[in-house]
Amino acid sequence: MTPYAPRHLQKTYLSRAMTRVMGMDAPIGDPFGGPAYKERNDPVSAILSIGAMAGSYMAAGTFAAMTLAQGMIFAGGAMSLAGNITGNSTLTKIGAVVGIVGGVGSLADLPGFNEQVFGGGEALSQTSSSVTNGAANANNGTLTNTPSGPKYPSSPSVVGAGGEVTPLTGGESVLQAGTGPEIIQNNIAASTPPTVQQPLVNTTQNFTPIQSPLQQQLASQGVATNSMAVAPVNEISTTSKVLDFANKNPMATLVLANTATQGLTSLADYASGGADARLDQLQADADYRTAMAEKLRAEAKAIEDRKAQLNENMALGLNIGVNPNAVSITPPGIINTYRSA
């Protein structure tokens, strides 16, 4: 006979099914809280699925894929640190480049970065047919491709973390320490920079070229640069505002992205992804509640069936050892407590 134990001292063992249900309210990896999206995995099930995960999570050229690379800018210091301590040239290279780029703009400012790394090919050349004036809402505009690449200063220089350009004069090494990763540069005779194919360049009055601080600095020194980014009269200038821009200006979004269908679909979906996810969560909740209601109905039906069977048996005079009229008597002073196994 199981000895009696107070409720607060009793152990309760949860089954995997129960922990899985508990995992619904505290999903793994959801930074914004809320029920998991169509997933009912507890942490153990989630980990067991690690080995099954493979393949691409984003199509090439999507906004999210390009945004992933931006994260290297934030971690550039850590990568530089690791590269410098261990002598890992790859990390040093990444850290140095993102340190320069991150201080003045984004990886999108690197000529051809998005197209070549995430576009699966060479930088695209695109021309759009001229359209009527629509600068106010940015749905229309004329964009032409001028394939001359950016030009670089003829004298070697160092770009600091804050974007300042410091020309070097003959022979010295510069060790720069600042808020970004350290950059060690030796003065090397300037060589002719490669001409890089730019995908789109705005040459119309309906659009305003967006220039990064580095490009503005170079422009002030008389170095011609081509901006890859364009903005309508209603200015949209930073990456973080692209989603708002995409929502309001789908046609311009199509032009900004390299491939029309992919760009528009991915940007629009990404921009509205939160709303879709919430709607799907509500649907998932509704489905769950429906399932619970079905389960309760099934249990109620089972009880009804048992009662009916019992009554039938009694009518047939079968002795099944149960007194349907039994009354539970509770002696005074004893608290009825549910005991688990």
Binding site: G29, G61, Q70, F74, S80, V117, A177
Partner: protein
């Protein structure tokens, strides 16, 4: 950042102090790190994750692949609502935590070079999983670095 001590270990604290997140992404970054730490160190999942990292080959490669898979899992579990530009910084910090754990528990011998290799493997795998070409990225960086010199 100042001068670098070449003899220092790549500890999680050193990695944390060298990751600079913008203010608007700081909260998301901390949440993802917290979620990843729960998976790394909670009783039910720690062993499973270590089993996934275990295997033949250099520890740097295995650790980088394991952490990349973990970040992709988090991204998938969040229905792709994690800001993608937080994945790499958070993943590098979690990678350093995992390496530190392996070192302190003496499950594996992990050196600074192994951590560096795992970082490279981590980035390569993430870029590839998101449809990019890591090799082209390095070529582009080489060209850019040459031009800047």
């Amino acid at each position: 950042m100042g001068l670098i001590n070449l003899n220092q270990d790549l500890t999680p604290e050193a990695i944390w102090s060298n990751i600079e997140m913008p203010e608007e992404l700081q909260e998301a970054y901390e949440r993802i790190v917290l979620a990843g730490m729960k998976i790394l160190f909670s009783q039910g999942t720690n062993r499973e994750l270590l089993k996934r990292i275990d295997g033949p080959g250099p520890i740097g490669i295995r650790l980088g692949k394991g952490m990349a898979t973990l970040m992709l899992l988090l991204f998938k579990q969040s229905n792709q609502t994690i800001p993608p530009n937080v994945i790499i910084p958070a993943g590098l910090y979690l990678l350093s935590q995992a390496a530190d754990f392996l070192k302190k528990t003496e499950i594996e011998e992990v050196t600074n070079e192994d951590i560096a290799d795992s970082m490279v493997e981590f980035i390569n795998m993430l870029i590839t999983s998101f449809g990019g070409d890591a090799q082209k990225m390095y070529e582009l960086f080489d060209r850019y670095a040459e031009v800047q010199q």
